[in-house]
């Protein structure tokens, strides 16, 4: 494939405001959107702000909206666009803008701090910890999360409702909570947090989060719905409730 010219529209600006600007640049074989951004940065706009680290879909740094679709720029091939198509890149909309394609994702780090840590059960009699692959498959699926925050970005509960953020942890953290709740060794109880502070009730299972997850984690089916079911068992099932009282949990 010979080098082709493409037309890119990039959002440039900061918290005070900004605009889309047009760039034309050559694209070589196999390039991804992030390569094109880097080429523009090196040749035409040295100060173009963008986050990245691994360039292989492993670190979750390069999230943005490509033609309005939330994506990892390093995993979006240029040959997936129609020839001549203008490619528009904008920052994630759910988070405040710092500059250009870089947003303030500190909301997520605050939510992470609110989740009580893993607390292991006692070891087995021989001092080891035995677990079986079948029992950890599901949790390992959740551990694949690269914290790209694309699911947070698309969730309608917070995408256009900043005011919901204090009361809603978001799909990424439902995944995290589910991974702790289903961890065979964990002994902490987070059910109340899930119901109240994390705001699981706000989620009405639209599945938008699952659709954008680059790690293909079944966020709704495997994390959110089972958590919702546990909540029902925990808080509305009288036998379980009684058990909670006696167990002191």
């Amino acid at each position: 494939m010979a080098e082709q010219q493409v037309h890119m529209r990039l959002w440039r600006g900061d918290a005070k405001g900004g605009e889309f600007r047009d760039y034309r640049i050559g694209v070589g074989e196999g390039m991804v959107v992030l390569d094109v951004i880097h080429a523009i940065q090196a040749q035409q706009a040295n100060d173009l702000a963008v986050r990245w680290n691994c360039k292989a879909g492993k670190c979750g740094s390069c999230s943005a909206e490509v033609n309005g679709k939330p994506r990892l720029m390093c995993m979006t091939r240029m040959n997936t666009f129609k020839p001549g198509e203008t490619i528009t890149i904008s920052p994630m909309r759910a988070f405040p803008i710092i500059r250009d394609l870089v947003t303030d994702v500190s909301y997520n780090f605050r939510k992470a701090e609110e989740i009580p840590a893993f607390k292991p059960k006692p070891k087995e009699a021989d001092g080891t910890r035995r677990m079986f692959q079948e029992d950890i498959d599901r949790v390992q699926e959740f551990h694949k999360c690269i914290e790209c925050f694309l699911c947070q970005n698309v969730c309608h509960v917070i995408r256009d409702h900043d005011d919901n953020k204090p009361a809603f942890a978001g799909p990424r953290f439902f995944v995290r909570l589910a991974s702790l709740e289903m961890h065979p060794l964990d002994s902490n109880d987070r059910m109340e947090l899930i119901q109240q502070k994390a705001g699981l009730g706000y989620c009405n299972i639209t599945k938008c989060c699952t659709e954008v997850c680059p790690e293909h984690i079944h966020i709704t089916d495997n994390a959110i719905i089972p958590l919702k079911e546990r909540l029902v068992d925990e808080f509305y099932d009288p036998v379980r409730r009684l058990f909670r009282v006696f167990a002191g949990k």
């Binding site: 196999g30 691994c54 292989a56 995993m75 710092i98 893993f118 910890r129 390992q140």
Partner: protein
């Protein structure tokens, strides 16, 4: 520039770097009761450690009960071509099983075999299956576990905060200075001790598996305050990086592919590694394809040459390509498709499957991958004390890739993640102890800080017109071509000249825009450390007139007994690098005996 008020913070220990080493160090320092800050230049959880694929080496003996620290020690020393610091290799082999089990106590979930203990996988240079892993995303599991554990430990985290210079008072560490990437504003830390955990400098090469962070900051900051650097000539070129399409060149293909059954082939379909078995590894390496394949079934057999240490395999690929038996894109084939079922491949190597499918349109369950060497890991770095990780400047500690010693002339796969945990913990521990024992007050020299601030702002006021990206690209070209896998004196000297020219050009860098999240400015500042790292690596490469491990000299193709006894040390004197050769520490007889045992 008007006197700027710097945002200032005071701590006992500042840990610079939040990869595996930095996180583990901060957890430990904080557990020792000293006030600790953790500083990193990306967001938390995005450090290089997150990209590690294959696993953590630890002689737990879960798969092979014959395995123990002595075998791991021996493998590490031999992999490092006997140049590793014996004491570090010993501590590392002894402590890594505990460090892995500790991760499990903090919530990590490693892959499991039938008996429910931690599964261990085969990797190059390790006698037994030894790597605890999670598919091919072990680093992600490790960094997330540490990160989630650390956020509840009262450690202050400074993200996207880039530290550029260390401060000293009468020769002792007294602080660090840098800037916030978001605002471009300066930030000053006053502290008693600094733990460097900044990783390596592989971004000075063009074909590399390393990210933008790997600009050699820790090495340069340490050298700037007079700390010794060691083994800088040893860069690891990983044998298997992607080669096609051009935009993905250098991205890593985990050694786990070979550990799980993949083999290297040239365009004639030959498993060429059988032609490259060095004398040093003859007794333990299979000689025929049949014998090699038998090893996959039972590790009592001799191992396949596909899993010789990385330096051997990288050189072999290089030779095959030079001899015209490479692919049209300058690589060789790595074939697992014809050897393992699609199901097995997808289960064991999910992220490799994904990576090739999405980035190269290659289905690795059906076709061979195209691979070639990529710059991967710095064995050299800050010279440290084996037990305490103390650098040669009081108050300075270093752990992880930024430190030298454990890996000698060549690192074995999997030995980095364990290194981070073992020496990260020790760095935190001994930095805390140092703080507690420190008497007297430390001062920060404001004139010096103001001078640093002026230097850092110079690119905005420059009259020149150099583009920092162009200088970086020129440096990468230079290091790739002249200080690559195969080296020769005349080219190394040429590289030194180019580095000097690039330093001159760096003074004329001009930055557009303002200080707010400005990558052009950030890169302009990183050029200082990129060039420092490159210069030290090139000088050391000239000094070592032999071939050993990650350092191959065309003009001195053999190992030389003289050089088997020394480390090359680089340190700054009056602003210039000076070299010396220093004897290896004497190894106790009982450890020597371990090395001599056959097999």
């Amino acid at each position: 520039m008007a006197e700027e008020k710097y945002e200032t913070h005071e701590y006992d220990v500042i840990v610079i770097g939040a990869g595996g080493a930095g996180l583990r160090a901060a957890v430990e320092a904080s557990a020792q009761g000293v006030k600790t800050a953790l500083v990193c230049k990306s967001l938390l959880g995005k450090a290089h450690t997150v990209m590690a694929e294959g696993g953590i080496a630890a002689a737990m003996g879960n798969v092979y009960p014959e395995d123990n620290w002595k075998v791991h020690f021996r493998d590490t020393m031999r992999g490092g071509k006997l140049l590793s610091n014996w004491r570090m290799a010993q501590i590392h082999a002894q402590e890594s099983p505990d460090r892995v089990l500790e991760l499990e106590e903090w919530g990590a979930l490693f892959d499991r075999p039938k008996d429910g203990l931690i599964l261990q996988r085969d990797f190059g240079g390790h006698r037994y299956a030894r790597l605890a892993h999670v598919g091919d995303r072990t680093g992600l599991e490790m960094i997330r576990t540490l990160q989630q554990h650390a956020v509840h430990k009262g450690i202050d985290v400074y993200m996207e905060c880039n530290l550029q210079r260390l401060l000293t008072d009468a020769g002792k560490i007294s602080g660090a200075f840098g800037y916030w990437r978001e605002s471009g504003k300066f930030i000053l830390f006053k502290c008693k001790a600094v733990v460097l955990a900044t990783g390596g400098g592989g971004k000075a090469w063009k074909v590399t598996s390393n990210s933008w962070e790997y600009t050699g900051d820790g090495v340069t900051m340490a050298a700037d305050v007079g700390a010794d650097l060691m083994d800088m000539e040893f860069m690891q070129f990983h044998p298997t990086g992607m080669v096609w399409p051009p935009s993905v060149r250098g991205i890593l293909v985990t050694e786990g592919v070979r550990g799980d059954g993949g083999t290297l082939k040239n365009t004639k379909g030959e498993r060429f590694m059988f032609n490259y078995i060095p004398e040093f590894f003859k007794v333990e390496t299979a000689e025929t394809e049949k014998e090699a394949d038998a090893w996959y079934e039972d590790k009592k057999n001799r191992r396949t040459p596909d899993l010789l240490p990385r330096d051997e395999v990288a050189r072999a690929i290089n030779s095959e390509v030079k001899a015209g038996r490479g692919t049209e894109h300058g690589g060789v084939f790595l074939d697992i498709a014809s050897r393992r079922s699609a199901d097995y491949i997808q289960r064991r190597l999910p992220s490799m499957y994904h990576q090739f499918k999405e980035l190269a349109d290659v289905d690795i369950t059906k076709e061979a991958m195209e691979v070639g060497p990529t710059c991967h890991y710095a064995m050299g770095g800050v010279r440290v004390d084996a037990d305490t990780t103390a650098a040669t400047v009081p108050g300075l500690f270093a752990a992880g890739e930024v430190a030298a010693g454990l890996h000698g002339a060549n690192r074995l796969g999997g030995n980095s993640l364990s290194d981070l945990l073992v020496f990260g913990r020790r760095a935190g521990l001994y930095a805390a102890e140092y703080c507690k024992a420190l008497k007297g007050a430390l001062a920060v020299n404001t004139d010096q800080v103001n001078a640093f601030a002026r230097e850092m702002l110079a690119p905005f006021e420059s009259k020149g017109s150099e583009n920092p990206y162009t200088i970086h690209a020129d440096l990468q070209e230079c290091m790739q071509d002249l200080v690559g896998i195969i080296r020769v004196e005349s080219e190394l000297k040429k590289a030194l000249e180019i580095i000097q020219q690039l330093k001159q050009r760096t003074r004329n860098v001009k930055i557009e825009g303002n200080r707010q999240y400005n990558p052009g400015w950030h890169l302009a500042l990183d050029l200082h450390s990129l060039l420092g790292f490159s210069e030290a690596a090139t000088l050391a490469a000239i000094e070592r007139k032999e071939s050993r491990g990650g350092h191959t000299r065309d003009d001195y193709p053999n190992t030389d007994a003289k050089f088997a006894k020394v480390n090359v040390v680089v340190r700054k004197k009056n602003g210039e690098f000076a070299l010396s050769q220093e004897p290896l520490p004497e190894m106790p007889d009982e450890l020597k005996a371990l090395l001599e045992e056959k097999k």
